[in-house]
Subunit: 789 residues, 2 copies
C-alpha cells in the first residue's frame, strides 16, 4: 500500500469520525482526524518532528477555558506486554530473580528516602541561612536610617534585594525549565494518575526547582517550600529507580528491569510520599498523600515500601536537622516540627459550632482564593505568555510584596514589649525603647516562621487591626504569587493566612465572651487548617500532616471537623486549586468514578476509527509509512485478511497489540526475517533491547532506513502483546472507564462480535466525558480536544 | 435437551476437565466436575438443597491443611449488570436522583457511625461495670477467707464465676451462631476482599458477638473487645445500608437502590472503619484499617465518606463516654484514650538498635504465637468439632486462666506500697499492711486496664520475676484463647504480653546500664507494638491506631521502626495470624498481586469447561433443568447455533451473561414471552423486582414450576449483562488475575478467537494458584478444592 493510498483512507474515512462536538465543520478532515485521539509517542518530541506537523485547531479555542483537553499529553502504560521475550526472561531467571528484584526495590526506596531528605535539608538550611543574613542586614539598615529619617533607603534596599533574588529563580524557571514553576503537586498528581507530563521527572527540573524554591522564599514571596520538596522527591525516585539520567545522558546500567511505566510509577509515588515526609516531617501523612492523590489500584506491598521510604526520609531529615540545630541525634527535639510543638488544648462539645463556623469561613475564603487565582491564571495564559513577561511579573510580585510589608510596618504601629519576642531580628522602628514592632517581626522572617509565631504567641501579641490588614494583603499576595514563574508552593502561605484570621477570630470571640478564657493557639491552628483545606480540598492526608507537624494528636478532632466542613463548603463553589490548574492545562486526568448516567454511551461512540492495523508478518516499508503518517502509539496486529485480498483495509481479526516504541526498536536493530541468519543472530534479542531506550525512544524520522530494508518483513508475533484487554463495541462508557482506570491502560482495542478490531480507545477519548457539579446541580459535558494548549 | 442428555455431557466432557492437581483419579467424574469451580449460589443454601447433593471429596484431605480451598465460599460481584432495566432506570431518574443517592449515602454513613459507637459504648460499659462487680466481690471474699486460711474458697469462687460467665457466651457462639467466634477481623477481611462469608453480616451475628464479647472479657479470658467491635461495625453497616433485616424478616423499603454487592461492600468497609474508630478512638486508624485490609479499588469519595463515618463514631463515643465518666462534653478527657495518655518521651539516635532489637523480639514471639495458635487450630479442627466439646474447651480455658492468675498471686509475693495503686481493688493478700499485691492488681482488672498499668506505672512497680512469669503464662493463655468458641479479639492480650516483656527488658537495660535513666513507659509501649505487630503484621493502620490510642504522635518514630522490623522478622517464618486462619478456613481470598512467573499459565488451563450456556431466547424447561443440574451461578448467553442444529452443545458466540439469581427471579415472576400480554403486563418489570430478593434468592427447588410453564420461553436479552468483560483463551494467569482483582468480578467468560465461549473462570480458579514464601525461598503451589471444610 503506498503512502498516498494510506492518506486517501485517512481522508475518506474522516467524515465518519465526527467524534468530538465541534461547531466548526469547515476545518480540514485530516487535521480533525489527527486531533481526535492521537496518543502521541514521546513527551519531548511534541514540539518537533512528526507530532505537531499536521496539527491544526479544530475551532478557535479561547485560551484559558476549562473545557478543553490538550492533545499533547501522553498516557503511561501499566499493562504488561506478555510477549515471548518476557516469557523467556521469566523462564531463565526463576524465583531467585523475583526475590532479588524485591530486595532491589527496598534498596531503591531506602536511597530515595535518604536523598530526598538530604535535598530537603539543603533547601531548608539554605533558606534559613540566607533569610537570616538578608533580614539582619535589613534590620541594620532600618536601625541606621530611621534615625536619619531616611526610611526610603532600607525600603529600596529591601525591594531591590527581593527583586534581584527572585529574578534569578524566575529566569531559571522561565527560560531553563518552565515545568518547574509552581508547587509541582498538580504535575505529580497527573503523573500518578497516569499522564506523562513532559519533563516533569528530569534532573534538570529538580535543579531548577531546588534553586527556584530557595530564591522564592528568600526573595520574600508569599510561597512555601513544601510543594517543591514533594516534587523533588518524585524526581529523585524516577531518577534512581531508572539507573540513568537523560539530563546528563548517563546510563549506570543498573535497575534495568525497573524501566517500565508501572515500576517507575510505583517508585514516583513512593518518592512523592518521601517528599511529603521530608517537607513536613510527616511519615504517615506522606503515605496518605500518595494514597489520596495517586492511586488507582493500591497494593499492600507498595504501601509497605512507601511507608519504609517515608520513615527513612523522616529519620534522615531529623538526624540532619538535629545535628544542624546542635542537638545531634536527639530525634525528639521539637525544633524538628515545622509548625512547632503545639500544646494539647482542651475542647468541649459546645465548641462544635465554632469549629463548623471556622470550616465554613475556610471553605468560603478558599473558594474565593481559588477563583481569584483561576482568573489570574487565565489572564496569564492570554497576556503573559512570553518568558520575559513572566520574569517581569515575578519581579513585580517581589516588589509589591516588599512594599506591602513595609507599608504595614510603617503605618500600623503595633508595638509590643521586648522579651518574649518571637523573632530573631526584633525591629524597634517607631516603637518606644524596649519595644518591638509586631508586624515587622512577622515580615522579617520566613513565612514558615511566621506561621509558628501566629500559632504559638500569646493572645495579646497582635492588634486586631494589624491582623485584619495582614490577612487581607497576604490573602491577595499569596493568590497572586501561586502561578507566577517561580517555584513555590501554597501550603505555607495559606496556613499563614488561616492562622492570622483564626487568631483574629479568637480575639473577637474573647471580646464577645469576656468571661471565657480563649486559647489563641487553638483557633489559629483550626483557622490555618480551614484555610488550607478550603484551597486544596484534601482530607485525610492533610489532617495527618497537620497533626504530625504540630506533634499533637489530641487536637485531631477539631482539625478533622473543620477540614471536612471546609471541603464541603468549598466544593459547593468550585474545585480544589490543583484540579483547577490541571483542567486549565487540559490534562486528560481520569477521575475516580465514571460520569454518572452514561450507561447509554457506547464504545462505538467513544472510540476513534478507522484503526491502522498491522499484519502478523508485516512489510517494513508499510510499517515505516504508517508510523510516519499517523501519530498513534498502539497498533492492533491482525490476521492477514483471508478472503478479501483487495488493497483497502478491511476489519480483521485481532491477534495482539504492538506499540510504536517496539516497532521503532525493531527497525532500529533491523530485526528482519531476512536478517535472521546474518545480522541479528549475533544480537541478543531480549527485553533489555527494549529497555535500553526507555523512556525516550527515537522518532521514526530519526532512523536511517535504507531502501532495501523497506522490502524486508518483520514477524511481529514474538514481540506483540498477544492478549490485550478488549471490549465489545456495545460496551458502555462506565465499563470502558473502569477497565481503563483500574488497570492503567493506554490503548484499548474495541472489537465486534467476531473479534475484529473496529476502533481504538485511548485515555483522552474517555477523559473527554466529564461531570460538572455546580452548587446542587450536576450534569455531563464533553470537552474539546485541542493541540493549542 | 433432556436432563439425561445434559448429564451425559457432564460425564463425557469431564475427562477433559482435569484442572486440579489430584493424585486420585478414581473418583467419580461427575463429582470431580462439581468440585472444580462451582461458584455456588447462596451462602445459606449450602448445607441443604442442591448444593451438597453431588459433592464428594476429590481425595482424602487431611483436615487442617493450609493447601485447600473450600468450595463453600461464594464471591461477591462488583460488576454492574448494564441491562435494559438499568438504562431505563437511569433515563427515568436523571441527575437529581444521582445527587439524592449521594446524600442518602452520607446519611447512612452518619447512622452507621452513631450506631456503631453506641454499641461499642454499651459493650464498654457492660464490661467495665460487670468486671467491677466481679472483682469487688472476689476481693471481699479473699480478704475474708485469707484470715481463715481458706483461700481455696475465693479461688473456687473465681473459677466458678469465670466458667459460668464464659459458659453463657460460649453456648451462644457454639449453638446459635458459630461465625461469631473469634475476633471477626478475618471474616471482615474476607468480605472486603470479595468473598461472601455466610451469615457474617447478620443482626443475629451482631447480637451473639456483642453478648459474647462481654462474657469473654468479664469471664476473665485473655481476649479483647476490639476485634468484635470492628465486626459489629461491619454488621451495622450492612444492616442499615440495605434497609432490611433477614434475622427479623423485616423490609423497611428504604435504600433499595443500595441492594447490590458493590454498594454493600462500600458500606461494610465504612462500618469496619467506624468499628475501629469506636474500638480505639482512632478515626484515622479506622480509615487506614479499611484501606489496608480491604480495598482493591479505592476511591476518593469513599475515603471521604469513610472518614466522616469514623469521625462521627469517635465523636459519639467520646461524648457518651465523657458523660459516663462525669465530664460531659469534655472531649479532651484523657480517660477516653483506651491506653491512657502517654507522655511524650525523648529518644536518641543511638537508641535505634534497641528499637530494632525490640522489633526482632516481637517478630520472633509473634511468629511463635502464630505457630502455636495454628497448631491448636488444627487440633481443634480434627478433634474438637462438636459444639459441646467447644463449650467445654471454652470453660476449661476460663478455669485455667483463673487458676494461672490465682497461682501467680499466691506464689509470687510481689508487694508494693499502697498509695499509687493502679487498680480499683487493691488486694493485700500476704503483703504487709499498707501494701498491695502487684500481680493481683494486674489480674483483678480487665486486660485493657492492665495494659494501661504496664504502660503508665513507674519503673519499680513490678518484680522482674513477676513480669517473666506473667509474660510466659499470658503468652500461652492468649494463644490458646484465640480460637476457642467465644467472641474475643487478640489486640489487647498481645498488647498486654508485649507491654509486660517491654517493661521486663526496660528493667534489664536499667540493670545493665545503671547510669542511664530508663523510661519504662517507652519500652512497654514499644514492646506492646512489637508483639502485636509480630502477630497481626499490619503496618500503617496499626501504627496510627497505637498513636491515636496513646495520644502521642511524637512517639511515632520508634513505634514505626519497631513495627516494620517486627513484620519483617515475623514474615520470615510464617504469615500473619489472620491470614493463617483465612487459609485454614480455605477461603479463596485473592492476594494483592498475581503469583510471579506465571505468565506461562494460560486461561485455557485455568478455566473450567465445558460451559453451560443459554440461548438469547430460551425455553423455561431447559433453564430449570440446567439450574437444577449444575450449581454454577453465571451462565453465558449465546446466539442460537447458526449451522449446527444438532442437539449437542457446540461453542457459540457470546452475547451476554446472566446470573442464576436473575433467572430465578424471572421464573418466580413468570416473565415469559407467552405471558407478555396477560400476567406480567400488570407487573412493574424494573430493577426493584430483582432488588427485592437480594441477597437471599430462593433456590430453584423452592420454586413451584408447573408443567405448562416449561414449554414457555424467556427472552433473556433485556435482563442479561450485554457486554461482560471477557478474555481470550491465550491470556495469561496474571492478566486474568488483574482483571478479576481490580474489577471485583465473579465470573469471567473465556472466549476463543471468534468470540465463542470456551470456558468460565471464577474466583476459586484463580485463588488456587498461590505463591509460598519460606525464609528466603519462594515458589508456587496449586491448592486443592474441597467441599469438606
Amino acid at each position: 500500500m503506498s503512502k498516498s493510498e494510506l492518506s486517501s483512507i485517512v481522508e475518506t474515512s474522516s467524515d465518519t469520525a465526527q467524534l468530538i462536538s465541534t461547531d466548526d465543520a469547515s476545518t480540514s478532515n485530516c487535521a480533525q482526524l489527527n486531533n481526535l485521539s492521537t496518543d502521541q509517542n514521546e513527551d519531548d518530541e511534541i514540539q518537533g518532528s512528526h507530532g505537531v506537523r499536521r496539527r491544526q485547531p479544530v475551532q478557535k479555542i479561547e485560551p484559558g477555558s476549562l473545557n478543553i483537553l490538550s492533545a499533547k499529553y501522553e498516557s503511561l502504560d501499566y499493562d504488561t506486554c506478555e510477549n515471548h521475550l518476557l516469557l523467556d526472561e521469566e523462564r531463565k531467571r526463576g524465583y531467585t530473580f523475583v526475590v532479588w528484584k524485591d530486595i532491589a526495590r527496598w534498596f531503591i526506596v531506602l536511597l530515595i528516602g535518604v536523598i530526598t531528605a538530604l535535598i530537603a535539608f539543603t533547601i531548608d538550611i539554605c533558606i534559613e541561612e540566607f533569610s537570616n543574613i538578608k533580614y539582619k542586614q535589613l534590620k541594620k539598615s532600618v536601625d541606621k536610617y530611621i534615625l536619619l529619617d531616611k526610611l526610603y533607603i532600607p525600603y529600596l534596599l529591601w525591594v531591590l534585594t527581593n527583586i534581584s533574588i527572585v529574578f534569578i529563580g524566575s529566569m531559571l524557571v522561565a527560560y531553563v525549565e518552565p515545568v518547574a514553576a509552581g508547587s509541582g503537586i498538580p504535575q505529580v498528581k497527573c503523573y500518578l494518575n497516569g499522564v506523562k507530563v513532559p519533563r516533569v521527572v528530569r534532573i534538570k527540573t529538580l535543579f531548577v526547582k531546588s534553586v527556584g524554591v530557595i530564591t522564592a522564599v528568600v526573595g520574600g514571596l508569599a510561597g512555601g517550600k513544601e510543594g517543591p520538596m514533594i516534587h523533588s522527591g518524585a524526581v529523585v525516585a524516577a531518577g534512581i529507580s531508572q539507573g540513568k539520567s537523560t539530563t546528563f545522558n548517563k546510563d549506570f546500567k543498573v535497575f534495568e528491569y525497573f524501566r517500565e511505566d508501572h515500576e517507575k510509577r510505583d517508585f514516583v509515588s513512593g518518592g512523592a510520599a518521601a517528599g511529603v515526609a521530608a517537607a513536613f516531617g510527616a511519615p504517615i501523612g506522606g503515605v496518605l498523600f500518595s494514597l489520596e492523590e495517586g492511586t488507582s489500584f493500591w497494593n499492600q506491598a507498595l504501601t509497605w515500601r512507601t511507608f519504609f521510604g517515608t520513615v527513612v526520609a523522616t529519620f534522615t531529615l531529623n538526624f540532619a536537622l538535629s545535628a544542624y540545630h546542635g542537638h545531634p541525634g536527639d530525634l525528639n527535639y521539637s525544633g524538628l516540627l515545622n509548625l512547632g510543638k503545639m500544646e494539647p488544648f482542651s475542647f468541649q462539645f459546645y465548641e462544635l459550632p465554632v469549629f463548623i463556623l471556622f470550616g465554613v469561613i475556610g471553605g468560603l475564603l478558599g473558594a474565593l482564593w481559588n477563583h481569584i487565582n483561576y482568573k489570574l491564571a487565565i489572564f496569564r495564559i492570554r497576556y503573559i505568555s512570553s518568558p520575559w513577561l513572566r520574569v517581569v511579573e515575578a519581579c513585580l510580585v517581589a516588589a509589591v510584596t516588599a512594599t506591602c510589608g513595609f507599608l504595614m510596618m510603617f503605618l500600623l504601629n503595633d508595638c509590643r514589649p521586648l522579651g518574649e519576642d518571637p523573632t530573631k531580628v526584633p525591629l524597634q522602628l517607631f516603637c518606644a525603647d524596649g519595644e518591638y514592632n509586631a508586624l515587622a517581626a512577622i515580615w522579617f522572617q520566613t513565612p514558615e516562621a511566621s506561621v509558628r509565631s501566629f500559632l504559638h504567641d500569646p493572645l495579646g501579641s497582635y492588634k486586631p487591626v494589624s491582623l485584619l490588614v495582614f490577612v487581607l494583603s497576604y490573602f491577595l499576595l499569596s493568590t497572586w504569587t501561586f502561578g507566577v514563574a517561580v517555584s513555590s508552593g501554597l501550603f505555607i502561605p495559606n496556613l499563614l493566612t488561616g492562622a492570622a484570621w483564626g487568631r483574629l477570630l479568637a480575639i473577637v470571640i474573647q471580646y464577645m465572651l469576656p468571661s471565657s478564657n480563649i486559647n489563641p493557639a487553638k483557633y489559629a491552628l483550626v483557622g490555618a487548617a480551614a484555610q488550607l483545606g478550603g484551597v486544596v480540598r484534601m482530607t485525610i492526608s492533610l489532617t495527618v500532616i497537620i497533626i504530625e507537624t504540630t506533634g499533637q494528636i489530641s487536637n485531631a478532632l477539631p482539625v478533622i471537623i473543620t477540614l471536612v466542613v471546609a471541603k464541603w463548603t468549598g466544593d459547593f463553589f468550585n474545585e480544589g486549586i490543583y484540579d483547577i490548574h490541571i483542567q486549565l492545562a487540559g490534562v486528560p486526568i481520569l477521575p475516580w468514578e465514571p460520569p454518572p448516567l452514561t450507561h447509554n454511551i457506547y464504545a462505538s461512540e467513544v472510540m476513534s476509527h478507522p484503526v491502522f492495523t498491522l499484519r502478523t508478518v508485516e512489510n517494513v516499508g508499510h510499517i515505516v509509512e504508517i508510523l510516519k503518517l499517523v501519530s498513534y502509539n498502539g497498533f492492533p496486529v491482525v490476521d492477514p485478511p483471508l478472503i478479501d485480498e483487495a488493497e483497502v483495509p478491511t476489519y480483521k481479526r485481532l491477534r495482539g497489540m504492538i506499540l510504536r516504541s517496539q516497532l521503532i526498536v525493531l527497525i532500529q536493530n533491523k530485526i528482519y526475517n531476512e536478517n535472521a541468519n546474518t545480522t541479528w543472530s549475533n544480537l541478543n534479542v531480549d527485553m533489555n533491547m527494549f529497555r535500553k531506550e526507555y523512556p525516550r525512544y527515537p522518532s521514526i524520522d530519526e532512523l536511517d532506513i535504507l531502501d532495501w530494508e523497506k522490502t524486508c518483513t518483520i514477524d511481529l508475533r514474538p514481540f506483540m502483546n498477544p492478549s490485550p484487554y478488549t471490549l465489545p463495541h456495545r460496551a458502555s462508557l462506565p465499563r470502558l472507564f473502569r477497565l481503563f482506570r483500574a488497570l492503567g491502560l493506554r490503548h484499548l482495542p474495541i472489537v465486534n462480535d467476531v473479534n475484529e478490531v473496529v476502533g481504538m480507545v485511548t485515555r483522552k477519548d474517555i477523559a473527554r466525558y466529564r461531570v460538572w457539579r455546580h452548587h446542587c446541580h450536576m450534569g455531563m459535558e464533553e470537552l474539546l480536544l485541542s493541540s493549542e494548549i
